[in-house]
């Protein structure tokens, strides 16, 4: 890889020193096709992304709503595979060092072989892996491989997660804790629930890990709210994928709109400008 990846820890210290939160956009690798997808990631990086969440497309993504599922299907129809996904990461590493987290479903990891998947992830420049359907109970092999190759294993905390379970998750989780903002699957929402703010505060009281909040974060004010509530980063997915979906026929407009949206989202992480 051309760049030595910055760690999540370094990134969060960097943004915190500027009194900001981390802005973390998401894309499915290869959506709508390999080259356009890569151009979109470049747009993210040039317009304020502090880290990247890259999804590997899966045919049956039960934790995701229709927006991500459509993106997954577009990528698969455009010929994406796990190997091409890693090639995608290596291409990203040619132009940026910001942390890269993978969002995958466990069957993709299992089919490649857990050890081989983490090895390839490390060699491609991935910082962290989160498998959406891999809870603590089934994560022994993944954690072993993550430690072997120094790829951090990320877990989720949800509104239904008990305090006792939060402690266990915090002990095993590395890099950052992914806080699921909503009761449900991914997808843009109109309003942020007050329970999201309560969850961030509850999780904060159990761990010193950086907290990145995702699921339903779709407007600058959502970003403002979660950062103000104590989160360290905001992950924005479906709202960006909506822009891709709506502009499939005009890629220049797509990239321009994504650039403008990213700038607004990044701006919304700047705490000294915020009132909550």
């Amino acid at each position: 890889m051309s760049f030595k990846p910055e760690s999540y820890q370094e990134m969060f210290i960097r943004v915190k020193s500027k009194n900001e939160g981390g802005f973390i956009p998401f894309i499915v690798a290869g959506d709508p096709d390999f080259d356009t997808s890569l151009e979109i990631v470049r747009t993210f990086v040039e317009n304020g992304a502090d880290a990247l969440e890259i999804g590997f497309a899966f045919s049956d993504p039960v934790a995701d709503g229709p927006t991500v599922q459509e993106a997954d299907l577009r990528a698969l129809q455009a010929g994406m595979t796990t190997q091409k996904g890693f090639e995608f990461i290596r291409k990203i590493r040619e132009f940026t060092s910001i942390p890269i987290g993978l969002l995958v479903y466990y069957n993709l990891i299992y089919q490649m072989g857990v050890d081989q998947f983490y090895k390839t992830a490390y060699e491609s420049g991935v910082n962290a892996i989160l498998a959406a359907d891999l809870p603590l109970e089934e994560s022994k092999d993944a954690i072993t491989a993550s430690k072997k190759y120094g790829v951090q294993q990320v877990f989720m905390a949800a509104q239904t997660t008990s305090n006792e379970r939060l402690e266990k998750i915090s002990n095993l989780c590395e890099g950052f804790l992914y806080v699921v903002a909503v009761m449900g699957v991914t997808g843009a929402r109109g309003d942020l629930q007050t329970s999201t703010v309560d969850l961030i505060k509850r999780v904060r009281s159990h761990t010193d890990l950086p907290l990145s909040v995702g699921f339903g974060i779709s407007k600058p004010e959502h970003v403002t709210n979660v950062i103000s509530a104590g989160a360290d980063g905001a992950i924005v997915a479906s709202a960006i994928l909506d822009i891709i979906t709506e502009n499939l026929q005009d890629k220049e407009t797509m990239k321009r709109k994504i650039a403008e949206f990213c700038q607004k989202l990044k701006e919304a992480t700047k705490k000294n400008r915020l009132r909550f």
Partner: protein, 393 residues
């Protein structure tokens, strides 16, 4: 979790974090009520008075004479709503009621599980919403109407292959948003722990009855038990009565579709490989990357690319044999039972009947005693069969 929900290495809980507490709650309630006197009294009452248990173990004299074996049919087709599915929906529906859940959701392929859930919702006064692939909605119009008449709302799913697996995906998504008041009433032995164990528990009545009935009629255990396998609930139910009797051959019959050497098949154990789908580690029809393939079978209940994890265990340990029967062969099974016994089987069960004929014709099996689980009746499939036969209805 109190138990890890594994059958050998298969099973487990591969779900998003949000669902873990709901599974823990369900496991706790299941372990509490499965041995609770009041719960079991109520369950027995409904199974007997509402569903119509016990079902007969019928000696199919004409078919036996034709095939040269003693063929018994476990008549789950005689149950209310027309299939074994009602055993599990009454069990889980009651459990949901005891847990204080105020809404039931379900997935359905052929429609039998959807109907069974709809009527149990009616019976217990709990609203029901059923996810169904839009292709299946089209294939099973009559069953959609039956669900709606029972007060259930049918939600067509247009994603993916528009069949059972996509209905399951959407039901999981719904449950992720509604775990606090909703019970997801899974219809087969797939899914995360505790579902495979719980569904087996509620379906094991088939095996207990069959064991007692065959001992009463024959004075000994059968040589073979044959049942169709989609997700695997009717088969695990009847197998459970004989799994510890090593001398009894257990045979699961998968939907072979156009044949297991073609891409159009639903034979997960015969053709699939190990993988994770819908919350458990089992066998899956998939490509080398782990992307799930679309399954095909003439029977909507068998075109599922996964299979319950206990079947994966019985397959890998060699305790049960799994075979595939093609669509054409299944249609022959459908006609065979209708013609010789006046019993029109569900297309799912027709796969088991078709394999029973093949099994009986093998010289080494001459004269053996075979139990075929007739998991459901074929009224629902008449339009489809008519179309296959070129008959206008």
């Amino acid at each position: 979790m109190i138990n890890n929900g594994k059958f050998g290495k298969y099973g487990g809980i591969f779900v998003p974090e949000l669902l873990i507490p709901a599974l823990e709650e369900l496991e706790k309630a299941f372990l509490k009520y499965k041995d609770d006197k009041e719960f079991n009294q109520e369950l027995d009452y409904y199974l007997k008075e509402f569903a119509g248990r016990p079902t007969a173990l019928y000696y199919a004299r004409n078919l036996s004479e034709k095939l040269g074996c003693k063929i018994y049919l476990k008549r789950e087709d005689m149950l209310h709503t027309g299939a074994h599915k009602i055993n599990n929906t009454i069990g889980q529906g009651l459990l949901a009621k005891y847990m204080g859940k105020t809404r039931l959701i379900a997935e359905t392929g052929a429609g039998q599980h959807g109907i069974a859930t709809a009527v149990v919702g009616s019976l217990l006064g709990i609203p029901v919403e059923v996810y169904m692939g839009s292709n299946d909605v089209e294939r099973q119009k009559l069953n959609v109407l039956r669900m709606e008449l029972s007060g259930a709302k049918v939600l067509p799913v247009d994603a993916g292959s528009r069949t059972l697996k996509d209905a399951i995906n959407d039901a999981f998504r719904d449950w992720t948003s509604s775990v606090e008041n909703t019970h997801y009433l899974i219809g087969t032995t797939m899914g995360p722990h505790p579902y495979p164990t719980m569904v087996k528990h509620f379906q094991s009545i088939i095996g207990r009855e069959t064991r007692a009935e065959i001992l009463e009629k024959e004075g000994e255990l059968p040589d073979a038990v044959i049942a169709c396998v989609g997700g695997g609930s009717n088969s695990i139910g009847i197998f459970s009565g004989f799994v510890n009797d090593e001398a009894v051959e257990l045979i699961g019959v998968e939907g072979g579709g156009d044949g297991i050497k073609t891409p159009r098949t639903g034979a997960t154990l015969c053709k699939g490989t190990e993988g994770i789908l819908h919350g458990s580690f089992s066998f899956v029809l998939q490509n080398n990357d782990g992307q799930i393939s679309e399954a095909h079978s003439v029977s909507a209940g068998l075109d599922y690319p996964g299979v319950g994890p206990e079947h994966a265990y019985l397959h890998s340990s060699g305790r049960a044999n799994y075979v595939a029967v093609t669509d054409k062969e299944a249609l022959r099974g459908f006609e065979l039972l209708s013609r010789y016994e006046g019993i029109i089987p569900a297309l799912e069960s027709s796969h088991a009947v078709a394999y029973a004929e093949k099994y009986a014709k093998m010289p080494e099996n001459k004269g053996k005693t075979i139990v075929v689980n007739l998991s459901g009746r074929g009224d629902k499939d008449m339009f489809l069969v008519a179309s296959e036969m070129g008959v206008e209805v």
